[in-house]
Amino acid sequence: MGKTYARFTGAPLKVHKITNPWRSPSGTLPALRTSHGEVISVPHKIITHLRKEKYNADYDLSARQGADTLAFMSLLEEKLLPVLIHTFWVDTKNYVEVTRKWYAEAMPFPLNFFLPGRMQRQYMERLQLLCGEHRPENEEELEKELYQEARECLTLLSQRLGSQKFFFGDAPASLDAFVFSYLALLLQAKLPSGKLQAHLRGLHNLCAYCTHILSLYFPWDGAGVPPPRQTPAGPETEEEPYRRRNQILSVLAGLAAMVGYALLSGIVSIQRATPARAPGTRALGMAEEDEEE
């Protein structure tokens, strides 16, 4: 999302593709190292920072639209994010066939063995905490409720978008970056069990919206969002003198490529100390086996 926003505003952004979260300056992805050497890693803060540096896609928005942006972002975070987490990390088929493969292929040996598993556990715990207060008795019921709320949320978005090109008229704003990063991921990933995807495909104006943005800002990505490892170092060649508005469009393009990371890994804080845990648990598993013998 940070990258999309940067694209939107044409901020000169050098994207370093790091697959190893430990090499990131702050230990999390995405991380933005500013010209002052500061490191910011929360997507919202990245956007705030870019705004301060005068790259502002929301410049032309009225106060009321700014308020709407905040409201809709909250809506998405509250309703859509848990379901996305569920779709990619908790739903077994999806996890095994898509998510784990993505991460395993993108990470260097030997991280690819245990890091995806650890991320999965963290996500499951997070999901439990977020929704666990409600009714933890029945997993299936919880799932159904989650998906129903997500479907409602998507329908609401569709209604709000109507037949406009972007949420606030003809030029993209940060809300568009936000929404796009969620929707693009959902649309493009080839999920074996994609109930939410099916619903999203039924909302034609949202699909058109995504394809429109993709074609405008991510022309080289072709038909879809490639898995993170294939992302070209395209953003670094973005020195062509586009007008600010066009630059805004290209920001979106870079973001879509980074969407996988920005969305899924940006919210996970991987601290340096904890990785030791995973090999530890493995060792424990082996020790137990030894004991049994």
Partner: protein
Amino acid sequence: MSLVAEAFVSQIAAAEPWPENATLYQQLKGEQILLSDNAASLAVQAFLQMCNLPIKVVCRANAEYMSPSGKVPFIHVGNQVVSELGPIVQFVKAKGHSLSDGLDEVQKAEMKAYMELVNNMLLTAELYLQWCDEATVGEITHARYGSPYPWPLNHILAYQKQWEVRRKMKAIGWGKKTLDQVLEDVDQCCQALSQRLGTQPYFFNKQPTELDALVFGHLYTILTTQLTSDELSEKVKNYSNLLAFCRRIEQHYFEDRGKVLKKHSRWYF
């Protein structure tokens, strides 16, 4: 509730009219209830007043445990028990009363989004302040939360709840926030609400909706609860249209109907 149960409840709800003896349960007003729960309870009360539905407020120390979802407030209507504003709005709608029928689709979408904004930012900030800010926890929260129970239960319950809330804060990324950042977020949220409200009497012009009830619940509670410092209420006071909004609803839906929003002795406005 599950979809089937919801449909079932709706059917039953639709069958009977709103009774005279409907009750709302919350924790003890004077000694026990906390900021966030009070805000939620007030929001529901405001909503029911706006719908012209009579409700009696009953205070019980174990209201949290009586509630079907573990959250207060909950209402007992006929032989059904419904908790939290969202489900209560649905329940009331099934009985034929609704405040948002006059809105078109886009407005309904906006209403839902703003309600999420309030829940996401204001409610979370209230929880943070109550349970993660050491000063408030020590001076106010622990004492209040466990007050109806004897020692050592009061401490155990308070610590348990604190641990639960802190876990949740960590999960949503608020664990590392400082108080200043939280107050910043509250300010942003209030600014958004203020901008959306503008000069209108209610968020969707002439008639109040559940969004107005929710915002009133939270803002009024923030303004009238005395905490260790005034920073939280100062953030809200910066926006005069929000203050006027709260005053308007208090006057129109509570004082004019003879219901005094009982002000706790430690509150001030």
